[in-house]
């Protein structure tokens, strides 16, 4: 689904955010990208979303080389993926329903079908009863769920998320991950940037660690899942939440 090939991203001023990054994400995968601030996680997602263009190297998304996507075609390109942000990026002068409907309105989907899809998306994130509310009246976790509903309402094949649990407490973070996992189970490819190693370690997903603009390591946590079970797909398993000392407790 995503092929990043020897990508360099240099910003004006000479700062290099990515230094020859190469990675692949297969269709139907749920992959986490981790790393410290400045490691290049957000830049990677921006390159995929065509918010930025690579200085050199290739970014291929669903068979499309982003270099060949002209400025005019960027909106149509972006409409093929869902995006989730740490700060939700909701429109606070509109209702929850209208926020979720926005990608469909932009895509020119018929109103009847749009209404049905919005309600289905809100139902999936458990916010159907709050469709008329303003996002400001919702908790941070609920706002993030609105953001997720907006990202998946047009049934994209790919969802990218930049620190989607960054502002959430551990319980809410886990709830958000469960939602992501449900989408992944129906074939949606997810690429999630996060620094929440404790949470990621519970998921059994591939993790790509970035450091200084390069891939540092690729880890798979199947062993962890085999030992403790998967708290994401099985809510009966208690989440493991990192304590203040960096250890974990149940």
């Amino acid at each position: 689904m995503i092929q990043i090939d020897n990508v360099v991203k240099r910003f004006p001023g000479g700062q290099e955010a990515l230094k020859g990054l190469t990675l692949n994400v297969e269709k139907g995968e749920m992959v986490f990208v981790t790393g410290h601030s400045g490691a290049g996680k957000s830049t990677l997602l921006k390159l995929i979303a065509l918010i930025e263009r690579p200085t050199s190297g290739q970014v291929v998304v669903d068979g499309k080389n982003t270099r060949r996507v002209s400025r005019r075609k960027v909106p149509a390109y972006r409409r093929q993926m869902g995006m989730v942000f740490q700060d939700h990026k909701l429109l606070y002068d509109r209702s929850v329903f209208d926020n979720v409907a926005l990608p469909l309105i932009i895509a020119g989907i018929g109103y009847r079908e749009a209404g049905r899809k919005v309600r289905a998306a809100l139902d999936q994130v458990g916010l159907l009863k709050k469709e008329r509310q303003n996002p400001e009246t919702l908790s941070s976790g609920e706002q993030q769920r609105v953001g997720i509903a907006r990202a998946i309402v047009s049934r994209p094949k790919l969802v990218i998320a930049d620190e989607p649990t960054g502002n959430l407490d551990p319980a809410l973070s886990l709830e958000v991950m469960r939602i992501f996992r449900r989408f992944n189970e129906v074939g949606v490819t997810l690429l999630i940037a996060s620094h929440d190693i404790g949470l990621i370690d519970q998921l059994g997903c591939r993790r790509i660690a970035l450091e200084d603009g390069r891939v540092q390591e690729v880890a798979d946590d199947d062993d962890f899942i085999a030992e403790y079970g998967d708290p994401i797909v099985d809510p009966a398993v208690d989440p493991i939440i990192p304590d203040e000392d960096g250890g974990t407790w149940r």
Partner: protein, 319 residues
């Protein structure tokens, strides 16, 4: 936005045309709603546009009324050809017919010597004194009205040719001051045309600046909308509707201002005309002129918002 919620109600039909139309209606209503929610700022903008539109409209009305007034002076363009005393009435009538056949002449009126004397008696108040005159000292006169197709040069040529007629004693023509007046009106009209262009540019700048501020205030919303795949055209549309509403509001208010000005002038103008024994009444804007003012407002509003949106929208990209 509430309109979106309503538009997305599942009972609505969802044909592509219906979707497109509903989206436009939603943008249209949304833009009007935003303007109404900021009544003071919006009113100021609309008022400035209205005054800017009303100025040339009022000036054009002045020209229109002055032109109307000058039409009653058409006879001032006539030539009075005073014939020699020895020209008989029959000859005068024959001469009238000959001159009337000219392409550069619209009509010729014969005022016989007797008619002229009667009129003079009536107008001068010397009726009794004139009765004592043995012979009528006045000649037959031909009043020649040049056709409207004449230029200044052909009128001068006509004047010369009428003066050269052997039957003509002299030709009186007093058109200079009317021509000067018409020339002044023409010059004013052109000046107003140029002024209108400048004022139109001012409206484009005013609306463009208002839209620019609106775009800056909604920068975050634009970024989010672009981030999830909105094209520039999609993002631009509500701002074009804002420009449309500002232009429409300004045009309608300009009509109101001009209308009020005419109402205020109507009675004093009628009184002044009455003092001169004239039936002149102030002309107001007709339907076509009214529609032109409103249409100009709308067009300038759309132009201003388009320019501002095209210029500033491109600069806003999600980062």
């Amino acid at each position: 936005m509430k309109a979106h919620s309503e538009a997305l109600a599942p009972t609505r039909k969802s044909s592509p045309l219906g979707t497109w139309a509903s989206l436009h209606i939603s943008n249209c209503k949304g833009s009007l709603g935003r303007i109404v929610r900021q009544p003071f700022a919006s009113l100021l903008t609309v008022l400035v546009i209205a005054v800017t539109l009303a100025l040339p409209a009022a000036m054009l009305l002045v020209i229109k009324n002055a032109s109307s007034l000058s039409r009653s002076w058409d006879n001032a363009l006539d030539f009075s050809v005073y014939l020699n005393q020895d020209v008989s009435l029959t000859e005068a009538r024959r001469l009238k017919d000959i001159i009337e056949q000219r392409a550069d002449v619209e009509v010729v009126t014969l005022i016989t010597a007797d008619e002229a004397l009667d009129q003079f008696k009536a107008d001068s108040g010397f009726g009794a004194a004139l009765d004592h005159l043995g012979d009528n000292p006045l000649p037959h006169t031909l009043v020649v009205r040049p056709s409207s197709a004449n230029t200044e040069q052909t009128v001068l040529l006509l004047n010369e040719e009428l003066g050269n007629l052997p039957e003509a004693d002299f030709v009186q023509v007093d058109t200079e001051w009317v021509q000067r007046f018409l020339a002044i009106l023409d010059m004013l009209q052109r000046a107003i045309g140029i002024g209108s262009l400048l004022l139109g540019a001012a409206i484009v700048v005013i609306i463009g600046n208002t839209i620019r501020l609106d775009i800056q205030n909604r920068r975050q919303e634009i970024e989010v909308t672009k981030l999830i795949g909105a094209s520039n055209a999609f993002v631009r549309r509500p701002f074009l509707y804002s420009g449309f509403w500002y232009g429409l509001g300004g045009g309608l208010m300009a009509l109101g201002l001009v209308g009020y000005g005419l109402y205020a002038l109507e009675e004093p103008a009628a009184r002044l005309a009455g003092l001169y024994g004239s039936t002149f009444t102030v002309l107001s804007l007709d339907l076509r002129e009214s529609l032109t003012i409103v249409g100009t407002g709308v067009l300038l509003g759309l132009t201003g918002s388009w320019l501002a949106a095209a210029r500033h929208m491109r600069a806003i990209e999600p980062g």
